[in-house]
Subunit: 343 residues, 2 copies
Amino acid sequence: MLGAKTMVKMIDVAKLANVSTATVSRVLRNPDSVKKKTRDKVLESIEQLNYQPNVLARHFRRSKTNTILVIVPNIANTIFSQMVQGIEATASQNNYRVLLGNSNRNVEKEYDFLNILRQRQVDGMILLSGKIDRDTLQELLEQYPIVLASEYLKDVEMSTVCINNIKCGKEATKHLLAQGHRRVAHISGPMNSMLSVDRQGGYLEAMNEYGLKRDNRLILEGDFSFESGYERMKGFLRLKDRPTALFAASDEMAMGAIKAAKAEGIAVPEELAVVGFDDIRFSSIFEPGITTVAQPAVEMGNTSMELLLKHIKDPAFKPELIMLESEMIIRESCGLKVKEETR
Amino acid sequence: MLGAKTMVKMIDVAKLANVSTATVSRVLRNPDSVKKKTRDKVLESIEQLNYQPNVLARHFRRSKTNTILVIVPNIANTIFSQMVQGIEATASQNNYRVLLGNSNRNVEKEYDFLNILRQRQVDGMILLSGKIDRDTLQELLEQYPIVLASEYLKDVEMSTVCINNIKCGKEATKHLLAQGHRRVAHISGPMNSMLSVDRQGGYLEAMNEYGLKRDNRLILEGDFSFESGYERMKGFLRLKDRPTALFAASDEMAMGAIKAAKAEGIAVPEELAVVGFDDIRFSSIFEPGITTVAQPAVEMGNTSMELLLKHIKDPAFKPELIMLESEMIIRESCGLKVKEETR
DNA sequence: TTGTAAGCGTTATCAT
DNA sequence: ATGATAACGCTTACAA
């Protein structure tokens, strides 16, 4: 890299085109307010000088950056990177940029990122994590456009994009119950997240509908990871009356559980039927294919960005809760296809 | 969101502390240049007024944003999101932010993102894609700090962080040859990328060392995806003298190929030994576990950010090529472990 | 429709 | 060690 060329500025364009900087600015921001002839002259000068507007001056002057912040627990996790992909796509379409705040599930880091918002380096924020405390969030919501996605919170009135995790958890569990399973185990996500509470809530509701009381030996808490699925399943397998089916709150945990079962010589789905959650890319590649609740991750990203734009454009915009549809995808791990085939 | 509070500015802090804005600015940017007593008085006023510096004014005044741009072909792809994770981590540590440019492998979009750099909205750029043409790149390199990572280019002198793909491709292939395989097939990545050319080059070198001439029936081009691996393998399986081993230029393609083989009743690794590339998270979970060349993706991200910082701090910094070490990971798909066990 | 000119809030130079 | 003040380059009343 050599030294930077001295920048051509608006005044240079103005001089070449024999107009004022105001007119150049108008051509750039509101072309219709300038007579065609003048406009063409200005555009030609811009071209000729290869003028690039100083975006920093513009941001400063307008106190607006056309940039938003995304706080994400773990960008290397497929489900989150898909959401970010959706956010970025919609942002780009609307001439917005995305600043990435990857917290690696470190709450301190998430709090640090909030200062980017406070210092107005961005016009708004999408939170893909539910770890910020109520009071901080409340304070921020009064001042900045914010959307929560995937996660959601009780007692905080804010725009949220999510799926109905209770319904999904219930559906997943009933799918197993309907096939005759009664000892259905559940590996939940971290219970400090509403998401996990609700998926478990759905599980409990489904069990209840089939007259099955909560049995704590059949419920263990994981952290969404493959490893935690593996370990928790090992736990279930030590029970003298081991479960014949499992609802795992993530596909990664479902895969971990299946591996653990296989390691003990237990066949899936024949001896253990499994339903997961998320429908990550590998769920269809894994063997057996994971029956799962598909989260519309990219769409969730799109939608949350659209919602954020509404807040940015209209500070009086009232918080909205958007619940996206999710879909159960039947593959092999739940045993349904096997049964159908041998019928 | 209610209306934004009117901002406290530096002059307010200055008045409360009975100093000039210059002193407040010094306390913020270079505390040691201010007498302790004055400094404390200023800090107290900042605290008291809950002053947040206007970052946009600062960026404008200093023509520096402490933000860098990352152009990535596909953020939803594990290998790239891991690199981005590494970039973000090192950036954060150095008080830098990351602006995400996800191109979805669309070259037009990549060219669009370059304007962010030209308009100095960022202090530098990390390219995770090798699609920008030589001339454009040359023009940009003269003006801005840029690092290319993972990919690399011939005939362009720029800082690059990568692995030795020739060596890796050779090692992977020799691993198969050493086990006695002679009909070793190769599914390459897109050949418009140096990465793919080199991995294939390594394959050819290895074959050559074993006295095996290039056989175009054993070489097919994929696009790194599972689907392309599946399709290309189907092609190989139609040969009357089908290959007994495969080197795939990505783990996803390796998995696709294995699925295709299984679908035809061909056992892996017994009847087809496979080596992949990347070591994505899922490669150890897949069955059989994928023998692969592990790319140090997170480290690659860290290193490229470190290198970019050097360019940012010193515009005269000479371009460097950093080649990271990669490692072969032996799992089941290559058949080595099976053989060892039955020995 | 176009021009004039006053900021935006910080930093950095030059005095003191 | 601190203060006064002129930029930085753009946008936007307001005037013409």
